[in-house]
Subunit: 134 residues, 2 copies
Amino acid sequence: MQAIHPVLDAIRFTADGLVPAIAQQHDTGEVLMMAWMTRETVAETLETGRVCYWSRSRGAPWRKGESSGQVQTLKAMRLDCDGDTLLLLVDQVGVACHTGRRSCFYREVRDGPDLVTIAAPEVDPAALYGTPGA
Amino acid sequence: MQAIHPVLDAIRFTADGLVPAIAQQHDTGEVLMMAWMTRETVAETLETGRVCYWSRSRGAPWRKGESSGQVQTLKAMRLDCDGDTLLLLVDQVGVACHTGRRSCFYREVRDGPDLVTIAAPEVDPAALYGTPGA
């Protein structure tokens, strides 16, 4: 813990104690998702090398892939110029999105009025979050 | 305006009327920066094809590159699965960061206690924000 405290102190968390973290696949450059972290989950991520976000809806640490198996291994963590956003270079096992798609950013604005779905699910979401042991 | 309203309605803005927007260089995949947009600046960006953020510090639209010339042309706009984050694929003129670096994410966590600077400025910041006409 001692060694990473200075890094944690460089991060400017929101009044709610959160910092946005962008996850990018380290070798392809694909932007996979954006989620939030706390001081504690940043520390855990650095210590374990497994990405742990903060679930704002559950109010609890969100160890990515804990139930789905679709874990993210941390390859590098970067901080932006004003210290209020993290960029995580990760190795994503399987898919990042709960819909079974590789990236959460699968809807694109085109000429028409509706968003266009540009990627199909690679995994059945039911298989990702099935009954344990099933 | 008419045609883009349905897209705007798909975005889940915060209570403050903001949505985070990640800017990624469309051809290299480099993540350049993260900033915030409002409903109005999303609409302006789609209408003009030039990226316009919302400056939270100034409380005003932030037409990226207006003073520095380092504009971002919009190539594509994507929305994530839960509609609360935008991914902008852009063509960045020059540098995205006010420090003169291509990307704002130029500080990396390494083994030591301090953040390591992994990119040098490509442009003198003073030249980016010099006196008009200078």
